[in-house]
Symmetry: C2
Subunit: 191 residues, 2 copies
């Protein structure tokens, strides 16, 4: 039997904002405030939420994740894309070229980004020591098995290794529902 199990986390729609955009949306000099820590060290869910507006509809009250980033990035599911009327490409975080844009509406202002709306590609965060244990390295592609009535094997799962990461697989809500899994379920990485 394999001991290569990872806990899974389901990512609901969220966005990361540049400091410039934070100040447009919330006011000059504004700083995001922490709602709760996330599993990845240094990352946190913020109290602040904004509306995302697309050509066909609006996603209201979408949570911001902190801290501020170099570039604004909106991560939604394909189902959310139908609501907005945009087709987010499935991309790794930070790979935004050619992705659709959207309007972001905050309490003090709004900003329209020309690109930055993506569906996050499934991936596993690993601490360097986890990667050693699993026998994988940064940017490797692995498969992950889900048991149960909605059992499946996720292919093309990107491994991301960094000394600041905690072991966790991230999928979006479409993927979590399709596989019948919930936060904290343990999934097997196939070699």
């Amino acid at each position: 039997m394999s001991n290569n199990f990872v806990p899974v986390g389901l990512s609901n729609r969220h966005l990361h904002l540049s400091q410039e955009h934070i100040e447009i949306l919330f006011g000059e000099g504004y700083e995001l405030t922490k709602f709760k820590d996330l599993s990845q060290p240094g990352q946190y869910a913020c109290n602040e939420k904004v509306d995302i507006v697309g050509p066909k509809g609006t996603l209201k009250g979408v949570r911001i994740l902190g801290p501020a980033r170099g570039k604004t990035q909106i991560e939604i599911s394909l189902a959310d894309g139908f609501v907005l009327g945009v087709k987010p490409p499935v991309r790794d975080s930070g790979d935004l070229a050619g992705s659709p844009g959207a309007k972001i509406v905050g309490p003090k202002g709004e900003v329209t980004i020309e690109e930055g709306v993506i569906a996050a590609a499934r991936h596993i965060h690993m601490h360097t020591s986890d990667a050693e244990k699993f026998g994988v390295k940064d940017k490797d592609i692995v498969k992950v098995k889900v048991e149960g009535k909605r059992g499946m094997i996720f292919e093309n799962v990107l491994v991301r290794v960094h000394p600041t990461y905690a072991l966790e697989m991230h999928v979006d809500m479409d993927e979590g529902n399709a596989a019948g899994i919930k936060n904290g379920d343990m999934l097997e990485v196939l070699k």
Copy 2:
């Protein structure tokens, strides 16, 4: 190379109604009217839509599929379940025991069912001749492979064989989005 490919169809939320419930919702003696034929012979999408009401929210304008059935059955995604505030079990069609209920609101009346809200388990309809070609029989469980960025292998796929069926795999919107597939995509059945 295998020739065992099936076209896929993504099932959006829908419901099947008993004749008794059709008459409560639309009026005495009412008969459903056809909007368009579905891929399965004799099955059709109706012009008629209803609202589905759960403890937390409402799904508005859910399409009815005809013809009338012996028992009313509401098929939604797990994401839809969050909107309604119910947890649909993943079930094969007709297997409704112990599933949650909901209120159905039509133009002439409303009806509350005690059970019947499910998330349809992924399955493949096959004509008898398809089953022969694929080397499977009714109620077999197979795996189905999806290629691409969101590639995966669906496990626990139920095969349903009948002389009136047309070859098609059915998944729900969560599963379709998770796999990055669209109606008519050809998927490989693994032996």
